[in-house]
Amino acid sequence: MLVHLQGAWNPWLGRLTLSQIPYHSPIVLGAFAFALLAAAPIVGLMTYYQKWGYLIREWITTLDHKKIGVMYIIIGLVMLLRGFIDGIMIRTQQLLADGPRSAAHLQAVHGYLPPFHFDQIYSSHGTIMIIFAVTVVLTGFQNIIVPLQIGARDMAFPYLNAVSLWLTAAGAALVMISLFIGDFSHAGWVGIVPLTELPYSPGVGVDYWDWALQLSSLGTTLGALNLITTIIMMRAPGMRWFRMPFFTWATLSTQTIGLTAFPVLGVALALLSCDRYLGTHFYTAGLGGNLMLYTDLFWIWGHPEVYFIILPAWGIMSEVIPTFSEKALFGYTVMVAATLSIAGLSWAVWLHHFFTMGAGPGVNLVFSVSTMLVGIPTGVKVFNWSLTLYRGRLRFETPMLWAIGALFLLLVGGLTGMMLAIPAINYTVHNSVFVVAHFHTMFLVSVFGIFAGLMYWFPKVFGFRLDERSGRRFFTFFSLGTVFVFAAMYTLGLMGMTRRLDYLYNPHWQALLIIQEFGIFLYCVSVFYFCKMIYVSIRDRAKEAHGQDVWRTSRTLEWMTLTPVPFYNFAVIPVVHGRDAWAMRRDSGLTATSPGDYEDINLPNNTIVPAMLGALAFGFGFGMVWRIWWLAGLSLLGIIGLVILRSFADDRGFTLTAATVRRMERNHEDTGIVTDHISPPVAELALFQ
């Protein structure tokens, strides 16, 4: 039943041959050199300082939700950089390949990228940015912050949490390796059918895209059920539903979407895999396949997914804006209702992504109205944030700058979304770069939210502040870049430029393309300031060290913990008396982090199993992509066997005695920051002792 493929295949290496390594492409070689250059010093330094053991003991095997969150964020930021480089390449190609007389470089007829390579770049750009950058960083924030905000010592399922992380990492690794072995999908991040079908995409690119998404979507689904259970079950005494910090509400809505939408993506992709591996006819152009089936399934996931991405960013804005306005969030209850209704509505609008595909006026009308309905709760939110700012004592520190920037972007993105929701308008601009500009403005709300969150919570997690000066420059250049790139892109869209073009036929677009490229230059400058910010902050970390409550006006429980947060979070679980629990305590003069007498704390041991599962999942994905059946089969058996084995281990966890807790907390009182770095032992090491 397996599809018979043309071309070489052998049982050991599947379709993999030496010629699959694109060493003839100067661009890929350059990327490879860059990766080596970036990796070599890290590997070298790690070896020199003998940090590998530390890495494995404290990070790879950890079940601590904060460390897992940090790793999510690091993966996400690395992918964000990769996606950004893709973006530069796309913009540069379009700038160079404008008009019949445009010059040719390297192997291209116009510009410097041949069409097939260009198509792979925009596909990986979209996939990476949406699935592996923004989603992953935001998941990281939710991991770190939610248990702290609700006064819990960890997630409901710490082990599962690590599994989710490593599945995501496996997916990201698949995307990255596709750069150097074989190629990536050329069918867009949405995977246009029947282009993704075997006859039109006989290579491995679509399979890379498929399995990478599949693995990370599995990780996201498991993460979703973990966060929901955590929020429902692990709240501190007194933390009633309507006392929950707003970010926690945002997470609950987000993860409800995650739990219900991602399985649909899984099915959409699995059916595509059936077509590609077993020769079925779900989405084929003939023999009873149905192209619209894919389009519908994909967007039934796809639209909720865009809210999966933006709701946590709105949650961050709802924490940052009150803190730097020095007053409570305006209309908390309404905000909660708005967030929940957006999550609900997100399920009922998917067809607006293909108004033009002939569903008919009746159907289009329904989805047009439902899409516009989303604008109501979204508008409510904008007003609530504005009213939080109104007569607040505003402090424009970096997190606040990003949050305000996000507010403006939301306005632009939301209004253009409303335009697109009108089928009559949509028919004229669908598939133009106007749409691309719309969703970039929306995703940039998330990106601005991410940077707001990064600046805001960094001191809590690491114990020192990020440098304010370079942070401001970073913000300034990033925002200016956004204006130049996307103002021009909206205009080009209205002028009729369609999306995903490797060659532009209209030389009159040149001026606007140059403006966009200038915006890209500003983004590059901003990346420089980002790196500088990190460097300067680490260099001056002693000077910028801060205790408990860096911003002095923050309101939620995570600011009550010691800084950096010890791995048990709270020495004694606090009682919550109202909304904005920490602000209440602070204003009542009760800023102690613990009552002064301590108790034993039991936490799970570290374990290597989740990382091994991730490695096996990667092996499975790689084997499937290249049709190396033994590798895929063994990896799958390995996963099942490991899960069963682990279920036999009775891990009683690790007990931190009251005396140790006392020592750690007292130390903190003396020095202002946590100096002990105790963490649980690795469970598997016990097997060798």
């Binding site: 979703a224 259970t229 005494p237 020769g279 079925t280 023999l287 009873g288 602000a583 009542s588 007498d597």
Partner: protein
């Protein structure tokens, strides 16, 4: 100092909850597992939607129609078997209440055997169809028929595997919290697969044969 919209905490109010009990592991895992089942339900929802889309004579592409491939009587026997398996599992749960290991293991073994019989019938059904040339790659309609039924079948395989593991764990460890939690969740899983089968039976087999 921020503007206070909230009340202040009085001196008599408790600030700390020392020895705050950790969440009860059984309810924690049960909630988590229900949520997991919800995502599983969505997998089936999407597959049933795909079935509804492709269940059209047009999608048979000139090949066998759905009424040519489904055998509702055989499927009814499968239905009886799967529910007997659920019944056997429920008996194991009675044994769990009584704390009787042998009883639990007996119930699980019966459930496994009945589950295997169910799968055997399904595989035989598939083999016959494939021999007749009604293969999944024949048409969109057959693709979705096979994939929907096989997805349920794969769930059954994992359920059986899980039961085998539980038989060993009950024998080895007895009724520890972890084992009991797993038995309870496996019950949810097993009943859920039976309910899904009812939907398959109704929408695919009955609806396909008698419309």
């Amino acid at each position: 100092m921020s503007r206070t919209a909230h009340r202040l905490i009085g001196p008599e109010e408790p600030l700390w909850a020392p020895h705050h009990p950790e969440a009860d592991p059984v309810s924690l895992h049960t909630l988590g597992f229900w949520l997991y089942m919800m995502s599983d339900a969505l997998i089936f929802a999407a597959l049933f939607a795909a079935y509804a889309v492709l269940d059209h004579p047009y999608n048979a592409a000139g090949g066998p129609q759905i009424s040519d491939v489904v055998h509702p009587v055989a499927a009814f026997i499968q239905t009886v078997i799967i529910f007997t398996s659920v019944f056997a599992y429920s008996l194991a749960m009675v044994g769990l209440k009584a704390g009787n290991r042998a009883f639990v293991i007996g119930g699980l073994v019966a459930a496994v055997l009945l589950g295997a019989a169910f799968l055997g019938l399904e595989l035989r059904d598939f083999a016959v169809l494939i021999a007749e040339g009604a293969t999944p790659d024949r048409s969109g309609l057959l693709s979705v028929f096979f994939v929907l039924v096989a997805t349920h079948g794969i769930h059954m395989v994992f359920g059986i595997l899980w039961m085998l593991v539980m038989i060993v764990q009950v024998a080895m460890k007895g009724f520890t919290t972890a084992v009991v939690t797993r038995l309870l969740n496996l019950r949810i899983f097993w009943m859920f697969q039976a309910s899904i089968w009812v939907c398959v039976f109704v929408f695919v087999y009955l609806n396909g044969a008698y419309r």
